[in-house]
């Protein structure tokens, strides 16, 4: 009958478990150490005001990073997130401040919920487009989203005529952004920034999908071994498209929050944020090649970037040096991550 071979049945004892926790919880531990260091280095860091400040600043990156995590888990990468955020923001603000005439019908200025819904819809559609191009034409994710990133910035320029929205003209005619949007970007409840609360809700929703829904499992499978996912009957194209749609949706949410914070949108806003979101995902411990990781790590990654920014400002580090430090942190974190993976790699 079957083999009698016995391999050790439990993976190590308590010692390995602690080490495992240390390795897995790496980003969180890094955050704690960073915070401890900064609280000692500057008295202004560990104040409630500053904490809320940081969360407000991190919210945008965090929300982008959560959608980005879905894409990276499938083994892809979404370079278009910042462009999608800008386009969604522009579309919504234009609809809120400019009367729309379409096919001879005068729609006037759209009600806020509809304009916001359309902005979110634009985000989803952009994501669907990314996913469709990648699945249909078998183009590398990097190339496809590099292309759409440029195209969507162009579309945003067309939508806004290259001007900030609301424009001086529309503002002088009494147009203003709805207070709900402003609140989402700059309001707070009991001192807690609403944008941070939204980021947390998005993260929990992302966690829920990845952990408890078929889509989440399919995303891990596709990123972990595409061929195995296919043999197990998983629709790879659909999984990819949905991951990109989620990324597009979170980008749109982030874009609208930024509008609320800046009280304005423009086609070139959030420049470079796509790379920052990728950095947050990687710092958060998600494998850049897919199949391993999660959104909570990305949330922590975004906060690490935020804390680092804030701390360097408080320490009066020149902005020139800030870039150098941030870049080094990203590389160091990935080096640590590689080392961690080697430690747990192996097999026969």
């Amino acid at each position: 009958m079957a083999s009698q071979r016995s391999l050790p049945s439990a993976p190590g004892g308590a010692g390995t478990r602690y080490r495992d926790l240390l390795l897995r919880g790496g980003p969180f531990i890094a955050l704690v150490i960073l915070c401890l260091f900064l609280s000692m280095a500057t008295p202004h860091f560990a104040t409630l005001d500053n904490m809320f400040n940081i969360t407000r600043q991190s919210a945008f990156t965090a929300i982008l990073a959560i959608g980005q995590t879905f894409v990276i888990l499938t083994g892809g990468i979404d370079l278009s997130v910042a462009a999608v955020a800008a386009l969604s923001a522009c579309v919504t603000t234009v609809l809120l401040t400019t009367p729309i005439t379409l096919f001879g019908y005068d729609f006037g200025i759209l009600p806020a919920p509809l304009a916001i819904a359309i902005g979110l819809g634009v985000g989803c559609a952009c994501g669907a487009l990314n996913g469709w191009i990648i699945a249909r034409f078998k183009i590398p994710d990097f190339i496809a989203t590099l292309g759409t990133m440029t195209v969507l910035r162009g579309v945003a320029l067309i939508v806004t005529d290259g001007l900030p929205v609301p424009s001086f003209q529309s503002m002088s005619s009494g147009a203003a952004l709805p207070s709900a949007l402003i609140q989402a970007g700059s309001g707070s409840v009991l001192g807690i920034p609403i944008s941070a609360i939204i980021a947390l809700i998005v993260a929990l929703a992302g966690f829920y999908i990845l952990r408890y829904r078929a889509l989440g499992r399919a995303i891990f499978a596709v990123g972990g071994n595409r061929e195995a996912a296919r043999v197990a009957g998983i629709d790879i194209g659909r999984t990819k498209i949905m991951a990109y749609m989620i990324s597009g949706l979170t980008a749109a949410i982030a874009g609208l929050i930024m509008v609320g914070r800046l009280n304005s949108a423009n086609a070139l806003m959030a420049d470079g944020e796509e790379l920052r979101s990728i950095a947050a995902v990687v710092i958060g411990g998600t494998n850049l090649f897919g199949g391993e990781g999660g959104v909570i790590g990305s949330l922590v990654g975004a906060v690490i970037i935020g804390v680092l920014n804030n701390g360097l400002n408080l320490l009066n580090v020149s902005p020139f040096w800030q870039r150098i430090v941030q870049g080094l942190v990203i590389v160091l974190v990935v080096i640590f991550d590689q080392w961690r993976r080697r430690k747990t790699a192996g097999g026969n």
Partner: protein, 505 residues
């Protein structure tokens, strides 16, 4: 454990210097102790054959010797000097060469570039001397008695040719200690014979070799001593005269393999799968057959006869034409999801094609449950937990944990995980595509036992194989394929190696 301990027995090459000595080598990966105090000696000019089941630790041991892994404990002594902290470079400098089981060539580079990798010949101006590089490569390959175009891109070569390039490349360093990890797995008999000729020449030059193979028939051809590894420990070292098949297998699996093919008697039931005029890809032209409940139907063919595309065509992995009836109903299978919905299951030729390495047994087992379901449907965590526990117990999957990623499992245990997957997905028809490729003797017997259990439960098995013995041992009928079509159908009593080969060629 050491039932047959005949520890380092008399060296056949008495008086030959010890090239390499391993003392109590330990290696622990997260969760798995792969090597538990392995000690062995390698003499100059000997071929020491290393046997062991998958997961016994052979490849790990080789990688430690090649500096690719660091041992957790133990000493490595090369020519009387202890070496610590071996790296791939220092191993090379010590004259240790490893011919990998998985090829370590760069597929996009040419044969010459691969062979000369890292030491391309240059002219006075530091430019690459391509003519010289091609000459060197042609010589290196020529020493193996074959002709391979040095300018050919390695990725386009056949697997056997790639294997020969790999061997040629390692031999170019003139290693004194040569580790061969299943070098003949992809070679034909003639190519293998040429490799053995090279090995004999290296022996005469005093090179010591550790040779890993699953082919017990190679022992009398090449081995000077045979060392058997089981569960990360050395069971014993014996001389080739003592190493008959029964003894080796008993040492490898810790029990005798009285019946390698436990073929149960099962009454043939109603037709489960009827295929008419199936064609796909370049080689499969026209295949028709009926598979009954409780039956094991074998499909045999030589390279390129079309049997390689049967599994992919049936499972919707590849475009195909033809009619498929399942349990008497016409069915259209265009995607794997369709196939799964119709109660088909596929054990792929390559296990890596079936498993997500970083996930644990649970998600790997339940993956097909997701097919044909909404992406927003809930995962069945509880059912997954229960079925994992049941199958780990039923199929004796080791390690019996639910937290270890499947990449840490041995080949045979990975195969069991895949089997458990299809059993849990409710498959009634299982397609085994080369079920024992790259699996050792003990795990083979496990797979065949399970195959027997499955048909006893009323399942049907389509067994596509190029191994004559296992077809003869397990199949109720065998379809022999030639140039994309069935050339003969042989009943169980008609099965013999000669008959199968005669109809195949």
């Amino acid at each position: 454990m050491t039932a047959t301990a005949l520890h380092p027995s008399a060296a056949p090459t008495a008086g030959a210097p010890v090239l390499l000595r391993l003392e109590s080598i330990e290696k622990t990966f997260v969760g798995v102790r792969a090597l538990k105090g392995v000690s062995l000696e390698l003499f100059a000019g000997e071929v020491q054959m290393l046997l062991g089941e998958n997961g016994a630790g052979k490849s790990t041991l080789m990688k430690i010797l090649a500096g690719e892994y660091q041992p957790t404990a133990g000493r490595i002594v090369v020519r009387g000097h202890e070496v610590a902290g071996l790296t791939p470079d220092s191993a090379k400098a010590l004259g240790i060469g490893l011919i990998h089981q998985e090829l370590s060539l760069v597929p996009a580079l040419s044969v010459a570039e691969n062979i000369c990798l890292g030491r391309m010949p240059t002219n006075r101006f530091g430019q690459i001397d391509w003519k010289r590089a091609h000459e060197l490569a042609a010589e290196a390959v020529g020493r193996l008695g074959v002709v391979i175009d040095p300018g050919a891109e390695v990725g386009r070569l056949q697997i056997a040719e790639q294997q020969l390039v790999e061997i040629a490349r390692v031999l170019e360093w003139n290693p004194e200690i040569l580790l061969l990890d299943e070098p003949t797995s992809a070679l034909s008999d003639a190519e293998r014979e040429r490799l053995f000729a090279v090995i004999r020449r290296l022996k005469d030059r005093g090179v010591g070799m550790i040779y890993i193979s699953h082919h017990l028939a190679e022992i009398p051809m090449i081995a000077d001593r045979v060392t058997v590894l089981r569960d990360g420990s050395v069971v014993g070292t014996i001389l080739p005269e003592e190493a008959d098949e029964d003894r080796c297998i008993a040492m490898m699996v810790g029990r005798s393999l009285e019946d390698q093919f436990p073929k149960p008697v099962v009454a043939k039931g109603a037709p489960a799968l009827e295929v008419a005029g199936l064609s796909a890809g370049r080689t499969l032209q026209d295949l028709s057959f009926t598979l009954h409940k409780g039956e094991i139907l074998g499909i045999f063919g030589l390279m390129g006869a079309g049997q390689e595309e049967v599994a992919a065509a049936l499972f919707g992995l590849q475009k195909s034409q033809g009619q498929i009836r399942i349990n008497g109903q016409d069915r259209l299978i265009r995607t794997p999801a369709d196939a799964i919905a119709q109660g088909l299951g596929l054990l792929t030729r390559d296990r890596r094609q079936s498993l997500v390495p970083m996930l644990t047994v649970g998600p790997n087992l339940s993956l097909p449950w997701l097919s044909n379901r909404s992406p927003w449907s809930a995962l069945q965590h509880r059912r997954e937990g229960e079925e994992v526990q049941r199958y780990i117990a039923d199929l004796k999957i080791r390690p019996a944990t639910t937290t270890t990623p499947v990449r840490f499992y041995s080949g045979g245990n990975q195969q069991k995980v895949i089997l458990a997957r299809w059993m849990s997905s409710g498959a009634g028809i299982l397609v085994f595509d080369e079920p024992t490729r790259g699996i050792d003797v003990g795990a083979k017997a496990d797979v065949f036992t399970l195959m027997g259990d499955l048909v006893q439960r009323g399942m049907s098995v389509l067994m596509i194989s190029s191994e004559l013995n296992e077809l003869i041992g397990m199949a109720d009928r065998v379809l022999v394929m030639r140039s994309g079509r069935v050339s003969a159908e042989l009943g169980r009593h008609e099965l013999s190696q000669e008959a199968l080969l005669r109809h195949a060629s």
